[in-house]
Symmetry: C2
Subunit: 321 residues, 2 copies
DNA sequence: TTGAAAGCGCTACCAA
DNA sequence: TTGGTAGCGCTTTCAA
């Protein structure tokens, strides 16, 4: 089933079939009708590879994420897919966590799409430079800018400062931070904001999931300095930490306060409600899609960084109000 | 940067470059070395569209889901992406919720990939038939079989029966079901299993998110027949329902019991803990990827349905133990 | 072991 | 308004 079959059936040339199918040029009504009918009857669908080859474009973009586990990435992806879909672009995804050959994965992806979105630390800086240098348009998401590539992120240090002040107002003084700053730019900045605001922060680096948070909290609670507040890198870590506190029979927030980041669904349902920072995750994804589309449309703006707002969500886990 | 540039630089024909790059045929060591070096120096990456066109395949698959919101889809997608990635296939995704032109979306997708996975009611049956009929290999996921297409799903009716028995043992008698069976095959089967086991079920159809669950529960609680147990179509609906119960000052499980499906993260953290049914969501995605790969590899098995197990997870929300 | 060349299916330019 | 045709960049026979 190729364009030739349609052309034969309609008694026209393949050029005319192409014109009718794409609607790119004036075609006589009668001719159009014949072609349209042939297309229908044969169920003709143009070969996408042939189109891409001839057009020199894919009408597809990709997003590379560290992972797909947990609510955060899913929400970002949702925002991205929705926006990209409305712009008429297909979306490819790729998670790199646990993959050894990230460079190869990204190069393969770059060859399949018109543009790439890179989330967090899913791809090493040198690979980013390489791919961008090779001419693939890119947008960086939730991470520092590299080489003047457009970047979309959310306010992080600021919200960390706001959270720290709030905790100080509650009278908290002994701060522990649960989370590994090396794992994500977000975590790094959150810790920076916290450190810059309170006197001293004890850090327990840990992965960003519930089990790791639980374990890290155990460590904190077992030390000789009783933690006063556990500032967790994200909500999943915080939920794990709350489990550890409960197991020890510690009352929250009286004996220990706990806070998170992201405002995932569980944050609202856990008891006590988890104080956290709400991030516009879908918007993050959507903005990335739009930014990329702008570049692909030949937008000539200077490189920019788009910073989205975040908001402190105060619930019961940080102290009484 | 095409294969010709590399050929010129290495002083060989493009055929030889192709051989070296793909490793498909015997090439003299010295020649191979020259070509490899030229590839390096030029940073040559073959055009994916040209390859696809010449090879007649894409080395990519797609998954179509109703939506990306909530933990369920994200987990399935995670399992799928991981498995497909390891099989060396890129993955395209598409969410259809709220899209008017589903048929067009799916046809476009089908033209870009070697095979398609369709989750739940994301695509109408007639479109599924059309695409499958046109020759695109497919796997159906978490839905009824159509036209003898391979299908992967989880045990649903059975777990519903098990749940219902458990609730009967607790002495519950007035059953309400919150969720719209028309929205997903899973919901449909859950209701079927429940209806087949208990005397009478009152159904309040609602969307499968928290807000809808909250609202539906309000309706149930406002009626003259005080609900005894709210069997919810999934955990998000159940969490919403719990919110509604709490707002009314109803004690759970004493005055109302609530149950869900999926065992999302919040189910464990909410108070009281939510009794629910655990589904192997990642495995679901992974099995779909493998099933599709089998077909694409020319597997000649008769069409089959792969049913994964599910497990009742009893917590406090269904009654005292 | 290597090269020449015929496709793969489509787009878009140039003529008619 | 239409047709012919030269690419798009690669894979893979077929000969040498």
């Amino acid at each position: 089933m190729t364009i030739h079959d349609v052309a034969d059936r309609a008694g026209v040339s393949i050029a005319t079939v192409s014109r009718v199918v794409r609607g790119t040029a004036r075609v006589a009504d009668s001719t159009r009708a014949r072609v349209t009918q042939a297309v229908q009857e044969l169920g003709f669908v143009p070969s996408r590879s042939a189109q891409s080859l001839a057009e020199g474009r894919h009408a597809a973009n990709a997003i590379v994420l560290p992972d797909l586990a947990g609510p955060y990435y899913a929400e970002v992806l949702l925002g991205y897919e929705e926006a990209a879909g409305e712009l008429g672009r297909s979306v490819l995804i790729r998670a790199t966590r646990g993959r050894a050959d990230v460079r190869a994965l990204v190069l393969d992806l770059a060859a399949r799409v018109d543009g790439l979105v890179i989330l967090g630390y899913s791809v090493p800086d040198d690979v980013i430079r390489e791919v961008a240098g090779a001419g693939t348009p890119m947008v960086l998401l939730a991470r520092e800018q590299v080489d003047r590539i457009d970047t979309v992120r959310v306010r992080n240090t600021g919200s960390a400062t706001e959270l720290a002040r709030h905790l100080l107002d509650h009278g908290h003084r002994t701060f522990w931070f649960l989370g590994d700053p090396a794992l994500s730019p977000d975590v790094h900045e959150r810790l920076t904001g916290l450190s810059g605001t309170v006197d001293r922060v004890r850090v327990i680096p840990c992965e960003l999931d519930e089990a790791a948070g639980e374990h890290a909290a155990e460590t904190a609670l077992a030390g000789d300095t009783a933690p006063d507040v556990l500032v967790c890198a994200n909500d999943e870590v915080a939920l794990g930490a709350m489990l550890a506190c409960k197991r020890r029979g510690l009352r929250m927030p009286d004996e220990v306060a706990v806070t998170g980041w992201d405002d995932v669904m569980a944050a609202r349902h856990v008891d006590p409600g988890l104080t956290t920072v709400r991030q516009p995750m879908r918007e993050l994804g959507a903005h990335a899609a739009l930014a990329l589309d702008n570049r692909l449309s030949g937008d000539d703006q200077p490189p920019y960084t788009d910073v989205l707002p975040s908001r402190l969500v105060v619930r019961a886990s940080c102290g009484h109000h």
